[in-house]
Symmetry: C2
Subunit: 207 residues, 2 copies
Amino acid sequence: MISVPVRICFFGDSMVNGTGDDACLGWVGRICASARRSGRDLTCYNLGVRRDTSADVLARWQREAEARLPPEHDGRLVFSFGANDCCPGEDIGGVRVAPGRALTNAEAILTAAVAWRPTLMVGSLPICDIAVDRRIRHLSDDFASLCARLRVPYLDVFDLVAASDIWAREIAAGDGVHPNEGGYAVIGDAVENWAGWRAWIDRAASS
Amino acid sequence: MISVPVRICFFGDSMVNGTGDDACLGWVGRICASARRSGRDLTCYNLGVRRDTSADVLARWQREAEARLPPEHDGRLVFSFGANDCCPGEDIGGVRVAPGRALTNAEAILTAAVAWRPTLMVGSLPICDIAVDRRIRHLSDDFASLCARLRVPYLDVFDLVAASDIWAREIAAGDGVHPNEGGYAVIGDAVENWAGWRAWIDRAASS
């Protein structure tokens, strides 16, 4: 099988990092390992950072991506953030980043990203706090509309995670916010079966 | 067991990234997963970048580390680079980064690192090219002397890897430079049993 090498930068928060996963893979490591095991030549750069908001990702993603994706290689981008924006903080509405600002940040990130490299976005994840999760749910819907307008494939995972028993059990057994291996596998399976991701992986394999 | 949370940034080249590992762990993911499975609350930031030399790491490590290690958390640093410096290039001696410059770069990195956070260094790895590997061997010795002077614990892994049958087999079966799961496990085991690493992990567990 011919396999085009591809290098993918994953940007976002602790859920992208895989915080709390005793296997140190997270959903990012799981989907990349799965692609490699099926013969894809894929290099994974996990650039998730704990507590990062849309503003934090906006401030760093371009420089970090440019250091990892030289022009002569097939480099791609995946983003997933938003939950930390909705946590209590100093911005309008008593959150860390107000929804209007979060959308402006996401638009700035995604507009520059799609103009540069193939780009996907995975939706914001709940953190198991009722008031915060209500805001994350709304923001995830707004991100879906934004991505539709910018033609960035978007995978909503909020409801999937909110309904996951294993996610809830692992959150309770862990630090109250992050799951462990089972929860990250739930996200990994969803992303792996998503048409947005499959188009990359299947195209990479057949080129 | 009480476990102090610790966040560790690993900086270096493709061997730090774990390029070629179908499990998408590399030696970094393996030692971090092992520490977590034994009860340590550890967050892993893998900041290895393919083709990075000492000059590339010098240019980016501080900004990337500051984005991941806020002052209120126990944050630490591990470096491993040098092989790419020794590959054919435009610097003095026909390499990408001449040995004198590589040492100057390493000294600048490590001096700033140890003044800021606990720091370890893992030696440069061979890439299975006779002429290049001879240069890497010399550079690794120079790094050992530098680290002794700066009081940075240093683990020489060159000879271990050069003598590893599984490393050689996986290099040959892969892209000619990077191993797969077995080779990265060889490095992971060596780092995991190293006093420099154990002092961190055991201290974190007993504090």
